[in-house]
Symmetry: C2
Amino acid sequence: MRPLRIGLLGHGTVGGAFERLLSERAERVEQLTGRRPEIVGVLTRTGGDFAEILERSDLIVELIGGVDDALDYVRRALEADRDVVTANKQLLSRHGEELWQLARERERSLGFEAAVAGVVPVIRVLRESLAGTRIERIHGIVNGTTNFILSEMARTSCSYETALAEAQRLGYAESNPADDVGGADAAAKMAILARLAFDARVHIDDVRYEGIEQITAGDIAYARDFGLALKLIGTAERTRDGISVRVHPAFLYAGHPLASVGGSFNAVTVESEAITEITMSGPGAGGTQTASAVLGDVIAAVSAAGGARPMPAATAVPIIEDAVSAFYLHMEVADRPGVLAQIAQRLGEQGASIKSVIQRGLGENAQLVMVIHPLLESRLRTAIEAIGGLDFIRSQPRKIRVIDEEFE
Amino acid sequence: MRPLRIGLLGHGTVGGAFERLLSERAERVEQLTGRRPEIVGVLTRTGGDFAEILERSDLIVELIGGVDDALDYVRRALEADRDVVTANKQLLSRHGEELWQLARERERSLGFEAAVAGVVPVIRVLRESLAGTRIERIHGIVNGTTNFILSEMARTSCSYETALAEAQRLGYAESNPADDVGGADAAAKMAILARLAFDARVHIDDVRYEGIEQITAGDIAYARDFGLALKLIGTAERTRDGISVRVHPAFLYAGHPLASVGGSFNAVTVESEAITEITMSGPGAGGTQTASAVLGDVIAAVSAAGGARPMPAATAVPIIEDAVSAFYLHMEVADRPGVLAQIAQRLGEQGASIKSVIQRGLGENAQLVMVIHPLLESRLRTAIEAIGGLDFIRSQPRKIRVIDEEFE
C-alpha cells in the first residue's frame, strides 16, 4: 500500500520528539493502519515551504504554535482535503468552530488530543466514550506548571516566588511564565473541554480566569488546617441558565479525586448522573508525552475505520459569569469585641453563612479565616465590599473558591 | 435515515438500565449517528427467540452473561454481519480470539468497553489512544467488590468476614461472592487487558490469581505501619522472556496512583516509557455505569466514521509464571536469641534481602513482619519452605506482594 506521507509543521521540543517517536514506532503504525509513515517535509520558523510540503503530504501535523500562521496552515490543509493533527490549544480555543466545520465539510479528521492534558486521553474519552452521556460538570488540573508550583509550596511551605524559581530551574516553567501562572493556558484548554462536553460554542474570551500569583504560603497552611488541598482548577459546568467555564485557584477536600494529583501531572474529572464520575490523570506535558498523543491521533486519522468521528456542530448556549461556589475568606483584623458579629452580619445580609472559622494571632494583628457555604460569587463580592469598609479590617479581604464534597 | 434496530440479549440489572438509558438518550444518539435507536426485541432466559431477534436487528447487545449461549449468539450475530456490543468478560477471556477474528473477517464492530472496569474507558484508550505506544505494564483495580471490602477493612479495622457482610448488605457483593473475592473475575478482565496491551494471545487459564479471603485485619494494620495500602491488584507486564499476567493482593506505597482508589471504584494505570504513566478511575460496576459504557460502544459501532478499528491479530507470546516482586512476609515465632539471624540466613540463601522488619509481641507469641526486596517468587517460596521447617516457627509464614515506588 502507499506510504502515509506526513508534513510536519514545527520542530521544537514536541516536533523533534514526534519525529523520533514516529521513526521508532513506524512498524507498529504500519501494522495498525496498513501504511508506512514517513515525514516528507518539515516546516520551521526559518525553513521549508508550506505549499510544497502540503502538496506532497497526506496528513499535516501542526506543532508550530502561535495562532495566525497556524490558522492559515490548518485551514489550507483541510481545504486541500488533508487530515490534520494539531496540539495547538490557542488556535482551537479561538478558531475551533471554523476549523471543525471545515473538517466536517471536507470529511477530514482534525485530531487534537495533544492540545489538552497531553497524553491523558480526555479528548478522545469525551468525543467517543462519553458521546452518549449527558455531562454535568468537568473539573480539571490542566496546567502542569501551576500544579508543580502549588505542590512544591505545599510540600516545602515555601513562598510562591521560591517555588516558581524551582519550577524554572527544573524546566517545568518557562522564563516568562505569565501564560501558565496567570491561568490563560488553562483557560484555553477549558474552553475546548467545555465545547466538547456541552456541544456549546465556547471561545477563550468566554472563560473567566485567575492565576496563582497571589497565593501565599499562609493560604496553603490554613488549607491544611481545614483538611484541604490548593490547586489551580478549571471548571466547566451546566447551570440552570446556561454553562459556566472558569479557571481559578480552589481548595479541594482531601477525598476529591484531584486533591492527590501532585507535581506537574494533569488530571480531569468528568461528572454525570449516569456515570457518577471518572477521573483520568497523567503527565500533562513533556515532549514524548505530547508526541505520543499526536501519534495516537495520526493512527486514528488513517486507521481502517476511516478516522475520527466529526465534531458535532456547536449550539449557542448562554455563558453564565456568576457561579455558585463555597469560599475560603482571609481577613486581617484588629481583634476587638464584636468583630466576628459584625463580619457575620455583613455576610448574612448577602445570604452567606459561615461553615467554619479559624482565628490566628491576637490584638491588632489577628487573622481571621473562614469557609463560607456556597452562594453566588457576586453576592460574596458585595459582602466583601461591605466588610472592607469596617474600621477593624486592616487589608482587603481575600477570597478563594472551595470545592467541597458536601457542597457538590 | 433508517432507524438503528437493536436486539437486546438479557434483561437483568444492566439490560434494564441500558433500555432506560437508550430511551432517555435516543435523540442524542440520532444526532451523533444519524439513526434513531430502537430496541426491536429482547431475549431473556425465559422468553424471546434469538433467530427472530437477529433477523430484525442491525446490532446485537449481549448482556445475557454466561459463556456457552453467549458464544453461540455472538458468533451467529457476527456471521450474519451484525455489529455486536458485549459486556461479557468471561466470554472474551475464553473465546475472544475466535470472535475478534470473526469480526475482522466480517468487518463488523465488536465493542466490549463494558467488559472491563465499567464506564472507565480503559478499553478504548488502549485500543485507540495508546495504539502507537509500547506499553510496558498495566496495574489495575478491576474488581469493585474486593476493593470495597479491603477499603472497609482499612477504614474500620474490621475482619474480612464483617466487611464482606457489609458489602453484601449494600449490594456490592453477591450472596455467592466466590468469583469476586477469589480473584477469578479480575483474572478474566486482566486477560483482556493483557491481550490489548501486548497484542498477545492471553486466555483466562494463562492468568495466575489469588483472592482476598486470607487477608486479616492484622495484615492491614501492619501495612499502615509500613505506609502501605492493601488492594487486589491485577498486573500485566512484559518481562525479559515473555509476558506475565496475574492477580493477587498487593501492598502499594502511599504515593502509588492506585493507593487512594477507595470504595467500589475501579482504576487502571498504564505504564510506558513514552508516556510515563496514565491512570483512569471511576465506578467499575452498577447498572447505569455499565449501560453507559455499552451505549458508548453502540454509538461507536454506527457512527459516521464506520465503527471501531478491528482488533489486530494476536501473536503467541510466552506466558511467564514466575514473576519478580517485592514481598511482605508475616511469621509467628517463638522469640528466642538468633531467630532473626536464622530467618535471614534462609532468605539469603535464595538471594532474598530484607528491607525492613517489625516485631510485635514477646516470648512464645511474637510476630515478625518483613518487607523483602524484589526477587523471583519461586525463590522466595523455596526460602519460605526452609523457614517453615525451623523449630521456632509456630505457623506457616504468609507472603503478600508489595508494589513499591523504589522497586519499580
